[in-house]
């Protein structure tokens, strides 16, 4: 899976690349508009992460270019401008998602995977982790081939864990994923605990192992291997 990361901030570039690389992605970098434009036209990518404010140009024009060339790449805008106008324009141009800075790497990872999933298999795919199977299109979860009924939040939580399996995800990252901007306003950590407790119970009822490790102080790790 190849990803093109267009971002002018070196530190951000480095960290995003490192995280996504560990997830098994091949990450190409572009630091300004001209390099980004060249790479976007010369190679095929599964996903393009594009910053809107770039040296020597506007990220929105990269999206226009990709769409003009009938690129199949999923496009995610990562922007510091957090403006509803940019978001609407970007999505209208054909971007798949919009993530405003600062974002969590776990969140970015889950968005990238969701976009690639939708692009490559037109949504008809399932994610399998040992005894757990998730069919994202139907928002369905099976354990040992038996469907279990989860609430929307429990489902989102499980998918987020599995997307970022073997990773430490912080409670704040989970809160942001589940409640978006509202997570600033609510006492979200207690609620995560409640949802997680229910999720664990429902999974255990169907004979699922407990993969969720509590990482003291920080958050959780959905540990699959070892």
């Amino acid at each position: 899976m190849k990803i093109l990361l267009i971002e002018d901030e070196p530190e951000l570039r480095k960290s995003i690349k490192q995280y996504l690389h560990q997830e098994g992605f091949l990450v190409e970098l572009a630091t300004d508009f001209i390099k980004a434009s060249e790479k976007a036209s010369d190679y095929d990518y599964d996903c393009v992460l594009v910053d809107i404010t770039l040296p020597k140009g506007n990220g929105l024009d990269i999206i226009r270019q990709l769409k003009k060339n009938h690129s199949k790449a999923g496009i995610i805008i990562i922007s510091a401008r957090n403006s509803s106008g940019d978001k609407i324009t970007g999505l209208d141009l054909g971007a798949d998602d919009y993530l405003s800075k600062p974002f969590d790497l776990a969140e970015l990872n889950s968005r990238v995977k969701a976009v690639i999933r939708r692009r490559n298999f037109d949504g008809n795919t399932s994610i399998v982790v040992n005894e757990i199977t998730i069919i994202p299109e139907q928002r369905m979860v099976k354990v040992n081939n038996e469907p279990i009924s989860l609430t929307a939040k429990e489902y989102d939580l499980l998918l987020f864990f599995i997307t970022n399996k073997n990773r430490v995800v912080s409670k704040n990252a989970i809160a942001e994923h589940l409640w978006g901007d509202d997570s600033d306003q609510i006492d979200s950590h207690d609620f995560i605990y409640v949802h997680l407790r229910n999720l664990r119970k429902k999974l255990a009822d169907k004979g699922c192992r407990d993969y969720v490790q509590t990482i003291y102080g920080i958050g959780y790790n959905f540990k699959v291997n070892g």
Partner: protein, 418 residues
């Protein structure tokens, strides 16, 4: 006191002593003139009397008038000269004292000596004074009336540009108005005033724009460094050999970072609202927005065991930006959830053109005026940024809604009037 009335008052205060001096001078001049006139007349009488004496064959006394005031008397002493005197004499018919001026003059016809006495009534001093006083009083009266009428007319025409400028200043709102140009006037002073005001508002306006731009740029510029810290923190968390203490430190950093990001995001939002960057309006049914928000927070409401009651009596429809409508109502609801007690209640109702959100909770420790002020928060809400209600206020005032707060029977109520 209006400037015009003050001017009149000062004019009157200055003219009063002037009028008194003028009165005094007039009094003396008139008295002199009158005396001269009387003396002339007396001299004329005297000349007539001398003519009469010359026609005498025998020297004898003559009464020249019925009241025996004017007489010709034969005297022995050979005196000469004449003397004027003033005497008040009681007049029986008029029943008052009348002032007479007498001229006594000695005359020698050669053989005989005569004393000629002629008299004429003259005006008494107090009468003269009275006359002059009343004349001046009338003059002052006229002056006052004329001043007022003239100034009233003048103020309506001359001061018109001033009042125009004043009303323009009163309606000037730096947040709404673009730079305001005051019109040129024909009066030099007002023209100068308007020019100065134009210059001033232009300066204020450009400063204001710069300030706004700065806030927005600063918030934007902060997003990227925050992102760098956040992603590096995420990577650090993946480190397998973290000690408990280090994890606690990471957690502390992350929580603070989250707060900082939220703060920055909210400040940016406030700036955008104030910069009027949410322009696309739609017809919004507030009841639906409330219902949608409530379903988002259903789990939060449930977790706190809060009794929810909705009471939609009227359908509220407004023209506004959908994003802001969402933010406005979700902030009000979040506020009601956050500051509620375990097992408390929330009542949401619409009635006429108002929407009210009530929640149970302890009384405020800050004053009601401070409630909507940025960064002001109640004691005990340490995790709150203190910006939620100022966002509510900001959005409300953008669309001209009225937001008010009331506390009674342990129930906090926010009422939005559209």
């Amino acid at each position: 006191m209006k400037l015009i009335n003050k001017t009149i008052l000062y004019y009157l205060l200055i003219s009063l002593p002037l009028l008194i001096i003028a009165g005094f001078i007039s009094y003396h001049l008139i008295r002199m003139e009158l005396r001269d006139g009387t003396d002339e007349a007396l001299k004329k009488e005297k000349t007539n009397a001398i003519k009469l004496i010359h026609s005498f064959s025998e020297p004898h006394n003559v009464n020249l008038s019925f009241d025996s005031l004017c007489t010709i008397r034969v005297t022995t002493a050979g005196r000469t000269g004449e003397v004027y005197t003033d005497t008040s004499i009681y007049d029986k018919e008029e029943e008052e004292y009348v002032l007479y001026r007498f001229l006594r003059s000695y005359y020698s016809s050669g053989k005989n000596n005569y004393l000629i006495t002629v008299a004429k009534t003259t005006i008494e001093e107090d009468e003269l004074m009275e006359g002059i006083f009343s004349t001046f009083a009338i003059v002052i009266g006229f002056l006052v009336v004329t001043f007022f009428i003239v100034n009233w007319l003048l103020s309506r025409t001359l001061w018109k540009p001033f009042y125009k400028t004043l009303s323009e200043l009163n309606t000037y709102d730096i947040k709404k108005h673009e730079y305001h140009q005051f019109q040129n006037e024909t009066t030099a002073e007002f023209n100068k005033l308007n020019m100065a005001l134009s210059k001033m508002t232009e300066k204020i306006h450009s400063d204001f724009l710069q300030q706004k731009e700065f806030t927005e740029n600063a918030s934007h510029e902060m997003q990227t460094p925050l992102a760098v810290v956040k992603v590096n923190l995420s990577l650090l968390m993946q480190s397998p050999n973290l000690k408990e203490e280090e994890m606690n430190q990471l957690q502390a950093i992350e929580n603070t970072l989250k707060k900082l990001s939220a703060l920055n995001k909210t400040l940016l939002l406030l700036t955008k609202i104030e910069n009027n960057q949410f322009k696309e309006n739609e017809t919004i049914h507030l009841n639906e927005v409330v219902s949608k928000s409530l379903s988002n927070y259903a789990d939060l409401i449930q977790a706190k065991n809060i009794q929810l009651e909705t009471n939609f009596e009227s359908n509220l429809t407004v023209e506004m930006n959908p994003v802001l409508a969402d933010i406005l109502l979700s902030n009000l609801l979040q506020n009601a959830i956050r500051h509620n007690q375990e097992g408390g209640s929330i009542v949401i109702s619409t009635k006429g053109n108002t929407l009210s959100v009530s929640n149970s909770g302890e009384a405020l420790t800050i004053s009601q005026q401070e409630l909507f002020v940025r960064f002001k928060k109640n004691d005990g809400s340490k995790d709150s940024l203190g910006l939620g209600l100022s966002i509510v206020k900001s959005i409300s005032s953008l669309y001209g809604f009225e937001i008010s707060y009331d506390y009674s029977n342990t129930l906090h109520t926010f009422t939005l009037k559209i």
